[in-house]
Symmetry: D2
Subunit: 313 residues, 4 copies
């Protein structure tokens, strides 16, 4: 059976037809306005109709940034769109006359990696998406962990430092404040202020203005061999490994899949993470060290994962 | 079908016949020597034979303190007994001529609470056993979380303070160093040293010697209204809630079940835990606050859980 | 001998004639523009000339926010004015034809409290000024501690939490991030977000908008008995006591004098500080607990202290 | 004027005649029993009498491990000897018929370095003695900091990690738990447990038994190029630099002098300390980085410092 996956982002909707092997047979996209929920539904319906013209589709999976209820239809809370306890799945089901299953976006992407990507050979994995923030998806014994209220796998808000860096969520010391593109930029700018001599190369890339430094600049400079940038990524990587050690004590996965924009840094990020995990892993020596790899599926992971989760519902 | 549960502890073996409703129909026990694995197997066989005389039994579940492999037969590592990658289940199966399933002790107890005790009405719960150390069991979507290598749910070794209190596991800042009977006694003795005036009542119970203070003494003093003892338990309770907040970010359970000797303190422990969890819960207000209750099944939980897990294998 | 004290702030200059008993015999002020160092010097000269008309003055002391060199003339770095290694004292001396001594503003205020205010009866005290930031002045054995490069007593940048809250100085976990009006407002707003129910009273004072909450509002609400506001001040107070415990391990003062706008909260701030210091003081029981009091001299402290330090130079 | 310095340790007394240039003209020692305060006084008197036979001496300075009151005579509390509010100086003065001045041992050693050793060219320095514990001495503006109750400069008990490693003082997270020979041994043994493969060389030195590892073994292995041992010392060094950054925010010294047995490691310890201090120093770039050097005077520092402090009393 073919399924359509729909990935509702902040500024655009991407949709595609996905077969049972996770292949994307066709895709389309629509720009959208997060301020206008009705327009989002119009765009989703329009994209789905377009894809159905050429494909026989049995179900629709929707990926959205937010908490999704256990009915896998209600969006309890969305980060960027004004949905609060909104029956998105049911509304779309009536409109499309197709079964609709809604899933958290990080979960959808993680599921795609588990089924068809970097995690296809294991039963227990965690995906960490290091983008602007830090998203997570957890698969245990071959099943996606959603939690009692759909707020599971929010690993970005695992507290790793009591009274630590202030987080937008209102708490302190969340892992996301140490492992994210935002954290990379903030720490780099702070280090530029306190130690400008070390950072001549990076300041050059930023045209002399610390405030213009971006995450991709740090990655570029590091790949060009700039020690300062290498150090900044290594610091992020060590925190990533620290978070993994915490997660391993609780979940004991065989594999970590790292996605998101910051993973462009590759082993500049992953090697320090591996070292930190090795040093901090509980019961190290009495169990295998979890493997850490980069995600394979890229931007389509949300579509593919949402489609596959809907099909297997 | 009836099942036998066997709980192998450090100094004794307890075994019982358990029916499908979790009732303990008969039980027996044997003293044992953790230094002598062969004697342990003799005792287990002896106890099982005794119980089988009067009951038709289809399967045996064994609960042991250690990591159990995914085959649910091999003890990868045991805390108190010299088993290393030992095929305990297979050895007992051949000896008893019955199917044998081995399970981690905290998991067995947590499963019993999930099936027949405090967690019987939820699908997502975490049991925390606050005894000498801190054990954990995790149930997500009605299934026990074991992890890829049987080292899952070791919540006592979740790091909550970077560079924190030294743990016997070789790392620093493990939750167990803040939430356990051992932690309670250590902190109480330290506070007695730095502030003896506040602790006249407790020093009286300990016959004037801080080193004689025990966890049960602190609980007793607190129940008698001693403010110092109340404060010590509250400190432990706040750390317990802190650990729960971390676990909730990852696992989003509906319920925490607290067991172990320290939970004798009841609400003197649980109220501070509830407050700390309320203050620290990620996305508080957008999801229900998890419930925190005391375990219901007591010392038989290991037998009942091991038996039930074996039956449902 | 009479001395003039001049307090150069961000937007105004205050100056006064101070006698040997610390009494302010006359005073004047000028508005000023921190962007225009030349205008600041003009204003200082003008104010000094005005005061000298009616008083025979032997020396001028200048208080400024910044690092002052050991020559007590050079401003190495100023927080709000574009002085970098600027010989302010020498420039003013030539212009005024009077001896001029420059001092850090927190030091000047602390010295005034030591000589004529809350610290007049001790030899070892620390003043902590809890305003927008956290300033400090240290007196040991009756002498002001300046440090080798004039950067001593920057207690606001003592790190109290490794990897803690991000500070504008480029580092993490500085005490100022936990003990300052800025910290109070930030923490209060964060708590309003995560727990709006508790804060009805305070949200009312802020006309329904968490972003309008100010430090004085929190103090007002606390004085009116609002438990949420009381808790927010208590949290600040506990961190204040935590900082004091750190300082006591190093400096062992007899007295802490707390100044700045946040000290309007009085014992709502000081009682939690006293408790935290009591709990954390090294060698508690083997030495007196330092006393904690509110500053006595108010806004004139900078003038009085600068004048007195100049006179005793 | 010649002075006698007496260094009262846990198992022996060392005494010597010191001239005004800090030279040790003669010395003697006595074994002693810390359980017997009367015997200690006998030994001190005996040693002083021996030294006076050949030298005209005007004053005696006594160095002891403990808090010394502002009268510089009373031992408020001693770490190893049963003195509590004991007028040691007065008792010895009557017995010796010479002026006697008592000083804390770390202060005496630090003063010797300040006057005649590594600190002779600065006015603001801190000595850190990294031995079994972590001792400190602070000189600001050429004067020794004693504190209001003689408990100043206890930098080993500056808290650097909230809820950190448990300290014998009853508190958590004291710098001494991270920077001392005891910490080095503990951390090394823990790392041997969690990661035995890395430590073959060191385990060889300890004849296969982690519990036999000593601090000098780690230093020896590191000097022989063993990476594991180098890493362990570097970790200690980073914490040392972390402590220095905290002290610099408060005291702004020009120089750190590092003494004690662990400083045998030399730059293996000091280079990581320098890097950590460089990274963490408040207002780095706006003031000179403090210099870090090894102490020069060795075991005689206590005698020399106590004698000199007594002479200048």
């Amino acid at each position: 059976m073919l399924a359509i996956g729909v990935d509702i982002g902040g500024t655009k909707i991407a949709a595609g037809v996905v077969d049972e092997d996770g292949r994307l047979l066709a895709s389309t996209r629509r720009d959208t306005d997060p301020e206008d929920p009705a327009a989002i539904e119009d765009s989703v319906a329009d994209a789905v109709e377009e894809l159905r013209r050429d494909h026989e589709v049995g179900v629709v999976g929707v990926s959205a940034a937010g908490f999704v209820g256990r009915d896998r239809s209600t969006v309890v809370f969305a980060a960027n769109i004004a949905w609060r306890d909104y029956p998105l799945g049911e509304v779309l089901r009536q409109r499309l006359a197709l079964p609709v299953v809604v899933e958290n976006d990080a979960n959808a992407a993680g599921w795609a990696e588990f089924r068809f990507g970097a995690g296809r050979d294991v039963e227990d994995m965690i995906m960490l998406t290091v983008g602007t923030g830090l998203g997570g998806a957890i698969v245990t014994d071959g099943r996606l962990l959603r939690g009692a209220s759909g707020a599971g796998a929010e690993v970005g808000h695992l507290r790793v430092v009591p009274n630590g860096r202030a987080c937008g969520c209102g708490h302190d010391g969340c892992l996301e404040r140490y492992v994210s593109g935002t954290a990379l930029v903030r720490e780099t700018r702070a280090a530029l202020e306190t130690d400008p001599d070390r950072a001549a190369h990076l300041i050059g890339l930023a045209e002399g203005k610390p405030k213009r430094v971006t995450g991709p600049m740090v990655t570029q400079a590091a790949k060009e061999g700039d020690q300062f940038a290498v150090d900044m990524l290594a610091e992020l990587g060590r925190w990533l490994g620290t978070g993994m050690a915490a997660l391993s004590a609780v979940l004991d996965p065989a594999l970590y899949v790292v996605g998101g924009g910051v993973c462009e840094a590759g082993d500049l990020l992953l090697e320090p993470a591996r070292e930190a995990l090795d040093q901090q892993l509980f019961a190290r020596g009495r169990r295998p060290l979890p493997t850490i790899v980069i995600a394979e599926l890229g931007n389509d992971a949300g579509i593919v994962g949402a489609a596959d989760l809907a099909r297997s519902h």
